[in-house]
Symmetry: C2
Subunit: 341 residues, 2 copies
DNA sequence: CTGTTAGCGCCTTCAT
DNA sequence: ATGAAGGCGCTAACAG
């Protein structure tokens, strides 16, 4: 109980009657050691309950087996699933990771990253890096010091790796699908301040103007798109807009908004998908939990995290930075159907 | 780009024309240093972009400012919210944390913990510690080496701190509320293998037998209670049970099950809460996102995490282990109402 | 095969 | 107020 300090390699060496070097060798198994000596050492390790001090090891070898992960927050299930993927990949190669939340605050983000650097992480994954920090070339300097992978960052920085989804293509796929069902009046629902929304809006404009030019009025911004209140905010806005705009389908930039749209329809006694179709984006767990289940574009968050982790490790081991773009796949469930006539 | 190795304290000392001791002093501000010398050192630090190596510092001082967190997984939003609370508390005092997922696997859990110990964490928070590991006194030995806090662990271990909810009282509150609304036939929905469910079931039995003795048939187990499929599994089971049992209310051991119950009612065209009341437990974000919004018991996960982190830090600094029991509070929303007659 | 030794980057007496 | 030197626990040559 009384802070009995941990056994060190010296203690083990003493107990086994060998040198510290020998202990180190059997622990790491990187040099030949005679059978019997091994036994003795292992016995000593067990009886002393010895656990090698990774900090000391890494200080010495100037390597590090922990990486840093910076995320806007855990409230959004999207991020939780990404982290799940990172965890899986990281664990498999014996690395650990330090987690930090930046809360969409550029200062908090850069502080978190400095703390990570001080702790000697061998690389950092940043999910949705803050635009302000990017602008101020914070990351340009950082990447000269430590390997960096962005998940869902939309700006190129020399030397920074990048994993993301082809949201442009994904969005087009979704819209094409809706049009294929006969929908002409498609409402576009987005949130504030995200390159992701901008990309989708641009795609929407391209796709829609080919057929119609009503697009402008059909683009609605519901404010903060990733918060706890996104669902309710979306519902509130759509309860007003829907009766006047009378779309036959709603494309939402993420599943939270889509659930909000679904709830709005319930309020208005519009039945989905008979009266109106709803399409989400992301395929977070929530999309399968509501009734009816959401049709959505799968961003495969787990794979996003997994790829990012693998890419980072690769870079740490000397690989060059690169970009990986995953394809989104359409998941048809119960909120979309042929346009009613 | 080329692995330009970090500046060390020696580099700074050289650049500033002082000794390493002096640099150390201005960095840590723990000993007096003349004004001008400070300036010189700070200038050197800036120009060299020096960041103190925490690993080396901690090796030397035998202290550590990182803690470990072990969680069953991130799929369940419950855990994500707890971690959010931990993150907040930990960051405020300048600590960091390593995150590990144990996936409900006792071996993975103990491995994760060993990795944490090797990395010299100053304490560990375990969320829902695995019963098997507890039985095998894994934790009893561990706590002699490093401070431990359990969140939602239901077994006392000497020296281990504990933060949890008074689920017994919470459950009784919920049931009383339902009975106050006039409900007699209350279905009890639980999952497999969790002390949490056992406690609630026991409470249910006590409360119910006072009035009726139909309890037995009204207890239904839907299997895995925290997975991605919990909602659907619950729905499937209840779609069968509801017509035969005809309860007027359903008490669910967590919100996932409650959403499943809600979906089952939709399928059966039972309207909630007019035909039947549904009560969840936890108050995860999801409970506010469905329509109608769930009435539930708030476990305040954020506070759970925050308290655990603070308690751990306290213990690390020499405090004695203790138990904290938070009170759950009833959150009345839209899925419960007076029994219909 | 095994032992000896020199650091890794930093903090901390102990002198000055 | 500052510098010199020892050591935290470990690994990696270098000898034997």
């Amino acid at each position: 109980m009384e802070e009995k300090k941990q056994a060190t390699i010296v203690d083990v060496a003493k107990a086994a009657g060998v040198s510290v070097a020998t202990v180190s060798r059997v622990v790491n198994g990187n040099y030949p050691v005679k059978r019997e000596t091994q036994e003795k050492v292992k016995a000593a390790i067990n009886s002393l309950n010895y656990v090698p001090n990774v900090q000391a090891r890494e200080l010495n070898t100037r390597k590090s087996t922990t990486i840093g992960v910076v995320v806007p927050g855990l409230h959004n299930m999207f991020f939780a699933e990404v982290i799940d993927g990172i965890e899986e990949a990281v664990r498999q190669i014996g690395f650990s990771f330090l987690l930090n939340c930046a809360k969409n605050d550029p200062k908090q983000e850069s502080q978190a990253i400095n703390a990570l650097v001080a702790r000697n992480v061998s690389g950092i994954i940043v999910i949705s890096p803050n635009t302000k920090n990017i602008k101020e070339s914070f990351y340009e300097k950082l990447v000269e010091r430590v390997p960096l992978v962005f998940i869902n960052g939309y700006h190129r920085i020399n030397g920074v790796s990048y994993v993301g989804n082809d949201e442009q293509l994904g969005c087009k796929t979704a819209l094409d699908y809706l049009q294929g069902l006969g929908h002409k009046r498609i409402l576009f629902v987005r949130g504030d301040n995200s390159d992701s929304y901008d990309i989708k809006e641009e795609t929407y404009r391209q796709v829609m103007t080919e057929d119609s030019n009503t697009a402008e009025a059909y683009i609605v911004n519901i404010g903060e798109g990733n918060g706890v209140d996104t669902v309710d905010a979306t519902m509130a806005v759509l309860v007003k807009k829907l009766p006047q705009l009378k779309p036959t389908a709603i494309f939402c930039c993420n599943d939270l908004m889509a659930v909000g749209a679904l709830n709005a329809c319930k309020r208005l006694r519009l039945s989905v998908p008979q009266d109106i179709s709803i399409m989400g984006y992301d395929n977070i767990a929530l999309s399968r939990l509501v009734e009816p289940k959401l049709t959505t574009m799968d961003q495969n968050m787990f794979q996003l995290g997994e790829s990012a982790a693998k890419l980072l490790i690769e870079t740490i081991r000397g690989g060059k930075s690169k970009r990986i773009l995953l394809d989104n796949v359409l998941v048809v469930r119960d909120t979309t159907g042929e346009v009613s006539r």
